[in-house]
C-alpha cells in the first residue's frame, strides 16, 4: 500500500494481521504505545525481532489498565515467564484477545487464567475470595464473602469437587450474558 514505515517488514505486518484481530494501522499504533512506555529500551526498528521485554510496573500504569483491579493478573497471564514481563508479541496478543472481535471461547480461556490466582488450573475458594476482594475493595464482611463464594461454586461447579475446573468455568461463562461486553479493552 505504499507505507513508508520502517518499523516492521511487510511480511511481519501480514503475519500480525493473520495472527491477531488487528489491522496494520492498529499494530503500528500499538507499537507506538509500546515504545512510548520506555523509549530507551524499546527500539523503533523491529525488523530483526529484537528480544525486548517491559517489566510489569510499566504495563500496569497504562491508562487502559490503571483502574482495572485485575491488572496484575492480566499481565501475568499473557507473559511468557508468568512474572508479567511482556515482549511486544505478548503485548499485542493481550490486546488482541481483549479486543471486541475475539470470540467468546478464546476470551474464556484467558479469563480462566486471570481469575486463577494461584495458577493451579482450578478456581478454588481462595481464588474466589481474592477476586471478590479485588472487586469490592474489601468492603464486604467475611460472612458475606463466604456466602457469595458458596453461591458461585454452587452455580458453576458441575463435578462437585468444590472448585471450578476450566470446563465448569467455560460452561458458566457461555451463560453469562455480560461477559463479551465487559471483557474487552479498547486501545
Amino acid at each position: 500500500m505504499g507505507n513508508k514505515q520502517t518499523i516492521f517488514t511487510d511480511e511481519q505486518l501480514d503475519a500480525y494481521q493473520d495472527c491477531t484481530f488487528f489491522t496494520r494501522k492498529e499494530i503500528l499504533r500499538l507499537h507506538g504505545r509500546y515504545h512510548e512506555m520506555a523509549p530507551n529500551i524499546v527500539p523503533m526498528d523491529y525488523t530483526q525481532d529484537p528480544d525486548v521485554k517491559l517489566p510489569i510496573q510499566l504495563i500496569i500504569n497504562m491508562p487502559e489498565l490503571k483502574e482495572n483491579p485485575f491488572k496484575e493478573r492480566i499481565v501475568e497471564a499473557f507473559s511468557e515467564d508468568g512474572e508479567g514481563n511482556l515482549s511486544f508479541n505478548d503485548f499485542v496478543d493481550m490486546f488482541s484477545v481483549l479486543s471486541e472481535m475475539a470470540p467468546r471461547e478464546l476470551k474464556a480461556i484467558y479469563a480462566f487464567k486471570i481469575y486463577d490466582f494461584n495458577t493451579d488450573n482450578f478456581i478454588c475458594k481462595s481464588d474466589l475470595e481474592k477476586t471478590l476482594n479485588k472487586l469490592t475493595r474489601e468492603e464486604l464482611t467475611a460472612e458475606e464473602i463466604t456466602l457469595v463464594c458458596e453461591k458461585v461454586i454452587e452455580e458453576a461447579d458441575m463435578d462437585g469437587d468444590g472448585k471450578l475446573a476450566f470446563a465448569d468455568f467455560e460452561n458458566m461463562i457461555s451463560k453469562a450474558p455480560d461477559f463479551l461486553s465487559t471483557f474487552h479493552i479498547r486501545i
Partner: protein
Amino acid sequence: EVFFPDADHTSPPVTFLQELPSYRSVLRQRGAGGTQDRRQNTRGSVRPPVGQTRNLAEGTGVENEALVRSIREYALNIPEKRRLRAVQKANVKYLSRWDQWKQNRNRSWKKFLDEIKELSSYLELWRHDIRSIEGKFGTGVQSYFSFLRFLVLLNFIIFILMFSFITLPSTVSTYGFFNSSYIKVLPKNIEPKCTIYTIKGTKGLVYFYSYIIDLLSGTGFLEMTSLFYGHYAIDMVQFSGIKYNVPLAYLLTTLVYLSLSLIWIVKRSVEGFKQSLIRKEDQFQSYCNKIFAGWDFCITDVNASWLKHSSLQYELKTDLEEERLKQKIAGRRTEEKLRIYCLRIFVNIIVLAVLSGFFYSIYCATKYSQENICTVSLRNNTCDGNLLVQYLPSIVITLVNFIAPLFFSNLIRFEEYSPAFEIRFTLMRCVFVRLANIGVLLFSLGTQILTCADKCKACGYNHELYPCWESRVGQEMYKLMIFDFIIIFAETVFVHFPRKLLVTYCSWKVIKWCGLQEFAIPENVLEIVYGQTICWIGAFYSPLLPAIATIKYFIVFYIKKISLMHTCRPSSRPFRASSSNFFFLVVLLIGLVLAFIPLGLSMTHINSSKACGPFINFNRIWDVVPHTIDGFPVALRKVLYGIASEAFAVPFFMVTCLIMFYFIALAGAHKRVIVQLREQLIMESRDKLFLIRKLTEAQTHS
C-alpha cells in the same frame, strides 16, 4: 498435582493422575520445558498438538480453509501462531490448483472486508464521543447513547425515503425542472361542501408574533408548506414519458418505512434475544455473572471505577438480601399469602383507577383544545392563536409522564415483591403509560373528527371543523414533538444545572442529601422511544417530520452528553449492557406496533379528506391500492386477488403455525438434551473421582 475434595485427606499426590489425557493437555500451560507451547489447548478436534502440525498436509482443501480462517482464534502466543501459519503456507503446495485459488480468493476477500471496515469506522457518527463515555461511565450508559445514535440514523433514512419519493417529485414538477409536468387532483363526484379549505390567518396583514405562533403550532403559513399532508395535491407527475403516480407512491413509501423500521429493529434485537435464550431465568441472581463478568474492563476513569466498585458492592448486597427475602417468602403461611394477594389485587385496582383518571384528563384536554383552537362562527373563522390552548394536550401528557413513575414506584412498595421484580414491574407500567398516552390522544382526536351532529353524512367526517383532518393530525404530532424537545432542553438547563450549582456551592444539609440528579437510563430511554413513536405515526401525515426528528435527536445527544458529564451522577443502580440493549429494542418495537394501529385504522376506516391531499378521488386512503391493481394485466390481477383471498391465507397461516410449532419443539428438545448432557458430565466426573479413590486405595494397600 490433583488434590481430593475432602480436606481431611492428606495423602500424597498420586502420580498416575498425570497420565490422564485431560491433564496432559493442561500441562503445557505450566511451561515446564520453558520453550513449549504454553497456552491451554482446548480447541478440540480442530487443533492438533504442536508436534503433529505436519499432519495438516493430509487434510483436505476445505479443512485447510477453515484452519486458515481461524488461526487468530487459537490460544497460542504469537511466535507459535506464526509457526503454524508458516506450516499452513508450506502445505499450500499440497493442495490442488482449485483449492489454492479458493484460499487466495478467501484471503483477499477477507483483507478487502477489513479495509472496508476500517474506512467505514471513520464514517461512524460520534465514534469518539461514545468511546469516551464508555471509558468514563461503563457499557450500560454507553448502550443508551448507541441507541440514540441508532435512532438518528433510522430517522435520517426514513427522511431520505419520504423526501425522495414524495416531496421531491412534487416540488420538482411544480417548478418544472427536468421537463416534468404534473396533473393536479381534480375532485370528481364530490359534494362541494367537503372541498372548502381555507387556511386561517394567511390573508391580509400578518403580525410577526403570529408567525412565531404558526411556527410552534404548525398552523398558518406552515400548513401550506410541504411539511404537511395537505400540500400534496398532485395526482400524477410526468418525467419525459414516465408516469409517476403520487398517491400510490405516498402510501407505498409509508408502508416501506414502517417495514424498514421493523426489519432493522428485529435484526438488531436478534443478538440480544439469542443471549437471553441461553441465559438462566434467574438473571438477577446470577452471582457468577456478577463476579466474572461484572467488572467493565473498559473503564479508565478514576471516578467511574470507584462508582463501579460501589455499584458491584450494592448489587451483591442486594442479591444476598433477596436470598434472605426468598427464604422468608418460602416460609410464609397461607393466611399471610392470602393477605398479600388481596393487597396486590387492591393495589392493581387503584393503579387502574388512577390510570383511567389520567387517560380521561388527556381526553378532556384534547377535546377542549380542539374545540377552542378555532372558533367557528357565522361571520368568519377566527383562530385563537393561544399557545397554551394549542399545547394543552402536550402539557397534560408531559405531566402524566412525570407523575406516573413517581406514583408507581411509591405504590409498588405495598405489593411486597422482590426488589428485582419491583424494578422490572414498575418499568413495565411506565412503558405502558407513556405509549398509551399517545394512543389516548389519537383516540380522542379521532372521536373529534368523526363525531358530529349529523354533519358527517356528506363527507364521512366533520368537514366544518376539520376540512383537512390529516393535516390536523400531523399538526398535533408536530406539536407533541416540538414540546418534547422543549421539555428535554428546559429540564437540563432549568432544572439540572441549577441543582448542580446548588449542590456545589450551597452547604445546607438538605441539599447535600438530595444530591445531584441521577442519570437514570430506563427513564431516558422511555423518553426517546416516546419521541420516536410520535415520529412514526406523524411521518405519514407530515412527510418532513422525520427530518425534524433527526435534528431533534442530534441535538438531544449533545444535551444528554453535557448533562451526563457535568450535571448528573451515574445511577448507583446498575444497568447491565446485555439486558439493556434487548430491553431498549423491545420497548421500541412495542412503540412501532403501537404506531401501526392508528395508521392502519385511519387508512382503512376513515374517509380521506376531500379538500386537500392526493387522495381526494378515493373514498378511503387504502382504496388507491385496489384501484391500481385494477389497472394491471388480467393475469397479474388474478394472481394478486388469489393471494389476498381466504383460499390462500388460511393454508398459509396454518403452514406458518406448523413451522413455528416445529421450531418451538426443536428448542425444547435442545434444552432437554443440554440438561441430560450436564447430568452426564456430573456423573462422569463422579465416576472418575470414585475410580481415583479406588485406585489409590488399591495402591496404598498393595
